[in-house]
Structures are given as C-alpha cells and as structure tokens.
C-alpha cells in the first residue's frame, strides 16, 4: 500500500468517525450542509473547471431539484426519498439539456449572463408560481430519508447517506477526469476550435457536461430539501446559492477533483470559526473571497499542493519545467514498420481525387475571400497551395474543415459532401489540419495533446469508459500505442511528459502535426508549418513530412517558403484574391507570368522579364 492509498484510507476512517465525535446536533447539521454544498460545488466544477464554461445558473438547478423532491415526498414516508431523489436528478437533467443546447452558441461572458438569467427566471418561478410552489409560504413536511426499514432520523444517519452520495459523485468525477472524455473536455476548455478539428464532438460533450452537472445539482437540491425539511424561494437566489458555490469552487481549486469539496467545507465552517454576527461574517467573507482570488490563483488546493502526504498532488508531473533540461532525442529514426501498422490512414490511402472543391465561394460581408474555386487533390500526393498574404489560403482550409460555412459551392471528400459539416464530422471522415497560429491544449502535456486526437479501432462508450471495463482499458492501451508512434514519428517522444507551454515554437508546431497524424487522416492540411522556423528546423520538418508521405497520408501544404514548396510538392495551386491563377507542376507554375506578377507586382515582374530576355 503506497502513501497515497494509506492517506486515503486514513481520511475515510476519519470521515466515518465524524458523527461519533461530533455530538451536537447543531454542528452535525453544519457538517451535513457542507456535504450538500460540496456536491453542488462538484457539480458546478464539471462545467466550470473541466469544460471551462462559465455558468452562473446553479441556483436554478439546485432549486429545481429541491422543489421536485419536496413536491414528491411532502407529507409522505421517508421511503419516498428515493423516487424523489431520482426524479430530482431527471427533472434537473432535462432543465440542463434545455439550457445546454441553446448555450452551445454562447461562449465566455455571454454564457455567464445567459445562465445567470436562467437562475433569476427560476427564482421568479419559485416565488410566483403559487399553485405549485406555494410562493413565499414554502413547502414543509418533507420527510427524513429512509432506507427500507431503517428511518434515517437524526443528523448522524443523514450524514452517512450524504457522504455516500458525495463520495460516489467524487468517484464519478475521478473516472471522468481520467478518461478520454475528461481529456476531451479539457481540450474544449483549452482550445475549442482545435478540439473540434481534432475530432472531439464539441457540441455533444458540452451538452453532456451540462447534463451531468445539472443532474448532480438536482441530487444536491434533493438532499438539501430532506436535510432542512422545509424549502422556500429565499433559499435559491444568486447570493444564497450561486455566489457561495462559485466561491467554493474557486477557493478550493477550479478543475481539481476534491478542491470544490474542500472549498465547501471551509466556507460552511468559516462562520462558526469566526463567531460573529451574520453581517460581519458576510463582510469578511466578501472581502476574503476577493482576497483569495487575488492572492491564491490556484485555490486552496494549489496552496496545499505537495503537502498533506501528497494526497492533493495531481498524478501528472506538475512542473517538469523545473526538472532540468529534457533528455536529448535519440538519433535513431522511428520504426516505420510499427508506425505504418498503427498510423496508416484509416480506410486506406485511396486512389484518384480524394478531395474535390467545386465552385467554392466564401464571402464575408462585401469581401470575397474565395471566389468560385475548383480544386482537386490526388491521393498520395503533396499538393501545395500558395499565394500572397490575404489570397484566401487559410480561408480555404477553414472551409474544408468545417470552421467556416461556404456561401456557395461543394466540397467532396472521399465522395462525401463535407461543405458546411461540423469540424468533428470532417475530422471523423479523415481530414486533419494544423493551425497557422498554434492552437494547442495548453494545460496538457505533449502526450495529452496527441491522445485527445488519437483514434482507436474499437472505441468504448460512456458506460464502459466510466466503469473502466475491459473494452475501455483496451481502447486506452490502443490510444497510447498510437500516440507513442505519432510522437516518435515527429521526434517528440523524449518530450512526452513536458507541458506544452514550456516547449519552443518549433516543437509546438511539430506537436500540432503529431496530433493531426494520430487521427490517422487520409488527408492532412498543413497551414504554414514552416512559419517562424530557422533552416535547421525546416530540414527537420522536411524529414517529418517525408515520413507522413511514407505512411500514405495525402498532404495539402500551405506555405510561404517557396523553395520548400518546390522541394516537396508534386503539384502546386496558386491563389490570388480568392481565385486560382495557376496550377500544375512546381517548375511550370514558377514560370507563369501571372504568378510572378502576383508575388512581385506588375513593375518588378516586367523588369524581371526584361532582364531574363536580355
């Protein structure tokens, strides 16, 4: 038994002993409140911490859960707790979907204000829908929960029930965070666009996060109703619920596993420790909250990091930057046979035109960024797309990968229409990309970045993944194997445990390529991969692109480095002002007068022609 499990075992024993030690009913009530709010904080953390979506409507979910449970169990037996509990989860889950689906369109402060509005609407509903909620009179006569023949009268027995439910919720979060879904949520939090183009179904996962969070909030609402045994609209306001729970998550540690619970315990007990009147306590609490945010950016858990027997230490190495320089890359070339086995394009290399755009047009207001473009990419080639700045190259990639919607025209990829499809659908079809201005998952390691995009042959579902069944474990092993090959292929394996933000620019670019390769794409679009690289780094890039070719990946290369294009490309298309002005073999295209003019301007190109003639 290692220190970590020992520490957890001791913690469990201490927790179980609480009702035996705390004899006052009053204090037990506070302990129980801390558990209820701990569950609510865990729920908020899934949306706020794991997914990075600022939601401020948890008072609404909490209230819906409490009212649902109260209306079902009111005046009845304690056994009704269970159907009430489940119903609270289901009803708030539905409310979570009702908020989560429209909220997909919103980000940042828009989402914050929309969810705040939802919380306020629910407050008005609790207050004014008297026929159901009894308005200010509230609902009383909510029974104590009962398990079969055992009536859980008293704070002590309630404690074990609430603790068990909270422990299950934390366990669930632990599995979630450690699973592929946890990685995907973190990817959405760090770089939503890149998550989408890496194959993460952003819409589905965000809705799932809202749903899970709402269900847990509903459970905690139900627990609250059965603890206090009376509810009224006053208990479900922004300042009574949302602000404190937000504080618990922030003070405890956003995105950590047990930080929110820790925050809930601290904030629930603080008034007892301070022993001042409520107004003075609130005064200190308000100022303290602001001070905590300012002085403890990582929350209490961050401040406790590495102390208390390593109980709070995250599994992943936290600051490899301080661990000295990384080991040098081994000079040996990657094992291409193994790489080919694990990273060859899913569904084969294909033949003929894998990609075909027809009459593709994209307008932004009055600006025509892409104008009736026809473009074919042949399987197994490196096709370069060049042109002056602003000629529409990046817009083309954005159209092809589902980030922009074309105004007109069609894009067929492997015979399937992908114009206007969502980025993750395009990614799943086998089209990967990199970004000109890097979009990596900044909170993760190099390996984590690539793992997000890796595609297994037999993906496991939610159920198998969260329970870590055989199929899910096999999938993880598969994903790790493919990730390893992708990193070896790009010469990044020695950097696998480095945090992405500690790497120099060139290596970050290579991680983006490794991430794309792990998707086992049939077509890979590289958006200025050599930008900002020195000649030595460009040589390494050429080697890497050569290896991708060897695997059979078709490549579309956008690049300003013309010598590089001439070396790598089988075929070149030149864009200017969104139109195709030339296409053909690299050497032929280089001589085209219109291409020279586009790059050099009319005067210089005329002079060049005169000089050449002379």
């Amino acid at each position: 038994m290692n220190r970590r499990s020992l520490a957890i075992a001791i913690l469990v024993v201490l927790l179980l002993a609480i009702p035996l030690v705390v004899t006052s009913t009053y204090h037990m009530r506070i302990v129980n409140l801390a558990l209820v709010f701990g569950l609510l904080a865990v729920s908020l953390n899934i949306v706020l911490g794991y997914t990075g979506q600022v939601a401020l409507g948890h008072s609404g979910f909490f209230g819906i859960g409490a009212y649902t449970a109260a209306l079902i169990t009111e005046g009845g037996s304690g056994l009704l707790f269970w159907p009430g509990f489940l119903a609270a989860g289901i009803v708030t889950g539905i409310a979570g979907l009702a908020i989560g689906i429209p909220a997909l369109r919103l980000r940042g402060h828009y989402l914050a204000l929309a969810t705040l509005g939802f919380g306020e609407i629910m407050r008005h509903v609790f207050f004014n829908w008297r026929e159901v909620t009894r308005g200010m009179d509230g609902i009383s006569g909510i029974p104590a929960p009962s398990i079969g023949i055992v009536e859980l009268q008293g704070e002590g027995s309630y404690f074990y029930l609430a603790l068990a439910i909270l422990a299950l919720a934390v366990l669930f979060c632990w599995r979630l965070q450690a699973s592929k879904y946890g990685r995907m949520l973190a990817a959405i939090r760090d770089a939503e666009l890149a998550a989408g183009t890496s194959g993460v179904n952003v819409a589905r996962l965000k809705i799932a996060a809202f749903f899970i969070s709402a269900v847990l909030a509903g459970f905690s609402g139900s627990l609250y109703a059965h603890l206090i045994r009376f509810i009224s609209p006053d208990a479900f306001t922004f300042f009574e619920v949302t602000a404190p729970v937000l504080s618990m998550v922030i003070i405890g540690g956003v995105g950590t596993l047990i930080g929110p619970v820790l925050g809930a315990v601290v904030l629930t007990f603080l008034p007892e420790l301070l022993r001042v009147s409520d107004a003075y306590y609130q005064l200190i609490y308000g100022a303290g909250l602001a001070a905590m945010v300012i002085f403890l950016p990582m929350g209490l858990l961050g401040a406790l990091h590495g102390r208390l027997f390593g109980l709070f230490r995250p599994r992943a190495p936290a600051s490899p930057a301080s661990a000295g320089p990384p080991p040098e890359e081994s000079a040996e070339a990657p094992d291409m046979v193994r790489a080919a086995a694990l990273l060859s394009p899913k569904g084969g290399i294909g033949t003929g035109a894998v990609f075909e755009a027809r009459g593709l047009t994209c307008r932004f207001g009055g600006l025509v960024a892409i104008d009736a473009l026809d473009l074919q990419i042949q399987a197994g080639t490196v096709h370069a797309l060049i042109g002056p700045n602003g000629s529409g190259k990046s817009t083309f990639i954005n159209l092809a990968t589902g980030i922009y919607q074309p105004t007109q025209g069609s894009i067929r990829f492997l015979g399937q229409e992908v114009a206007g499809a969502r980025p993750w659908k395009v990614a799943a079809a086998g089209l990967a990309r990199t970004f000109q201005n890097l979009r990596l998952f900044r909170s993760m390691t190099v390996r984590g970045n690539v793992l997000v995009a890796a595609v297994a042959d037999r993906p496991a579902g939610w159920f198998e993944t969260l329970l870590s069944l055989a199929r899910s474990r096999a999938e993880e092993a598969d994903l790790h194997a493919r990730t390893e090959q992708a990193l070896r292929l790009l010469g990044l394996w020695h950097l696998r445990d480095q945090l992405i933000r500690t790497l120099p620019h060139e290596q970050q670019r290579l991680v983006e390529i490794a991430r794309a390769v792990a998707m086992r794409p049939r077509l890979l679009m590289l958006d200025e991969p050599a930008a900002g690289m020195n000649p030595v780094e460009v040589e390494r890039l050429v080697t890497a692109i050569g290896r991708l070719r060897e695997l059979g990946i078709t490549i579309l290369l956008i690049e300003h480095n013309v010598p590089l294009v001439m070396r790598l490309a089988d075929r070149v298309t030149v864009l200017n002002f969104g139109r195709k002005i030339a296409e053909g073999e690299p050497d032929a295209v280089r001589e085209e007068p219109e291409v020279v003019t586009a790059y050099l301007g009319q005067r210089l190109s005329d002079r060049l022609r005169q000089n050449n003639a002379a």
Binding site: R107, G117, E120, I250, A279, G286, L289, A290
Partner: protein, 287 residues
C-alpha cells in the same frame, strides 16, 4: 400612457447609466464588473448621508458623485489591477466578493430598514399641456441626457477621450504610441464609478434605498447591454431605455409579478437568437 412612457424612460435612464458604466469598464479591460449595482447603491447611500448633514441638495449630489469617482480609483487599484492578466472569471469572482462586502457594509452602516431620500421637488406633479407627469421622472431623463452628452464630448472631443478609446481598442499598440494604458484604465474606472454615483443620486428619491437594489440594477443592466449589443456604448443606452419601457409595459398590461421573469426571458431570447444585439460586436470567434 404618456405617464407610463415617462416613468419607463426614467427607469430606463437609470439602467442606461448602469449599463453604460459597465460597458465602459468592459471595453477598457474586458472585465465584467458584477458589483456595478452595488456601486450605485453606495452612491445612493452616500447621497442620503450627505443630504442628511443639511448641505444643499446640489452639493450633496455633487459630493456623492465625486466620492464615487474617487472610490472608482481605489476599486480599480485593489480589485482590477492585480487580476488584469488572469482569466475573466477571476475578476468576476472578485467583484462578486466585493458586492457581498458592499451590501453588508451598507447594512452595518445604514441599517436594514429602507431609507427614504426626500424628493428634489416640492410639487408632486407637473402639467405638460394637459398630461400630468412626475417631475422626478423628467429630471432623471434630463440629467441622464446631459450626462450622456458630457460623456460623448469627453470621448469624442477631447484628447484624453481619444487616448481612452485607443486603449480600449488595443492597449498594446496604444502603449507603443506613448499612452499609459494603466492610467487610462484607472480614469475609465473613475468615470464609470462617477456615472454609478449619478445613477445612485437619481434613483434614491424614486426608490426606497436598501441594500438589495444593486442586484436588480446590475441584472437589468446586463439585459440592457445584451439587447443593445455587448461592447456598444450607444447600445447600452438604447438597451437601457428598452428595458425600462419593456418592464413598465409588461407590469401594466401583462403581469406585474412576472415582469422580471419576462425581462430575463428577453435576455435569453436575445442571447440565443440575436446575440449581437442591436449594435453589437461579432460573437463568432476569429480564426
């Protein structure tokens, strides 16, 4: 009818001032100040105390506005400056902390009972060509219009205003042009807090002052800025007036208990269907 419109516009003017001050801070810093409503509340209470000393009304009002402006400087120094490099949630949480602090400070200083600030005017109503209007409402509308005019002159007719706008648009480039962004941001906070002081002075005589008014005001200001278009200054003003009118028409013709719920319904409708609002910024992320 004219009365309803006048009182809607008067309330809307208050929302417009709060929304405007909120948006000024947002444009300068990209921070959401959730305590904007509490600043109005403090302004109102300071005005109440100043008027209670026997000072003339105009002096008390001016004192409250200046006091709030000064407070704006401290506020930005303590709450915003340390958090300027952090994700927006940090500043949001810190301002929520401040609003809890301010509500309870006001509770301790001015007590839990709502306070009545006497009216500026002795007559209860004025007769404008046969329509009976409340002078306070006209006064609020007139003062707000004046303040907006001054605001416009400050931002578009002075060098300071140009520098403030430059900072709001791109602080880094502004810095390269010799502007001190931190100073401009501090001035923006002072102006914004001064505006909340004006709102506090104006709202005190028509509402009973209590520690709860801040939340209602900031929520309405949120609705106003979303309707007007997030980040747009004229949008905040127009949005504020729309919210004021909407609120009173719903209360009179539909349901007075659900007037706030309807307002939030409009908020969510706008966010989901029409997130750019009337004058707003593009919501889609640039690639």
């Amino acid at each position: 009818m004219a009365q309803i419109i006048a009182s809607g516009l008067a309330m809307g003017s208050i929302y417009a001032l709060v929304g405007l001050s909120f948006i000024l801070i947002y444009n300068a810093t990209h921070g959401l100040n959730f305590a904007q409503g509490e600043l109005v509340m403090l302004g109102g209470f300071v005005f109440y105390s100043a008027a209670g000393t026997g000072a003339p009304y105009w002096a008390a009002a001016l004192g409250a506005v200046v006091a709030m402006g000064c407070f704006g400087f401290i506020y930005q120094r303590v709450l915003f400056y340390p958090l300027r490099e952090r994700p927006f949630l940090a500043f949001v949480t810190a301002t929520i902390g401040f609003s809890i602090f301010a509500r309870n400070l006001a509770l301790l200083v001015w007590g839990p009972n709502p306070l009545k600030v006497p009216s500026f005017f002795e007559t209860g109503s004025v007769d404008v060509s046969g329509v009976v209007l409340t002078p306070e409402h006209l006064f609020i509308i007139a003062v707000t219009a004046l303040v907006l005019l001054l605001q416009y002159l400050l931002f578009f007719r002075t060098d300071l205003g140009r520098r403030m706008r430059a900072t709001a648009q791109n602080a880094e480039v502004a810095q390269l042009m010799g502007i001190r962004p931190n100073r401009m941001i501090a001035i923006t906070f002072v102006v914004a807090a001064g505006l909340t002081g004006v709102a506090g002075v104006l709202v005190a005589p028509i509402f009973l002052l209590d520690t709860e008014i801040g939340l209602n005001l900031i929520l309405k200001a949120f609705i106003a800025v979303i309707i007007g278009g997030f980040g747009s200054v004229p949008g905040a003003v127009v949005g504020g007036l729309i919210v004021g009118l909407l609120e009173i028409f719903v209360a009179v013709y539909i349901s007075s208990v659900y007037k706030d719920a309807v307002a939030f319904g409009v908020l969510i409708f706008f966010l989901v269907v029409f997130p750019r609002g009337i004058f707003g910024e593009r919501v889609a992320e640039r690639v």
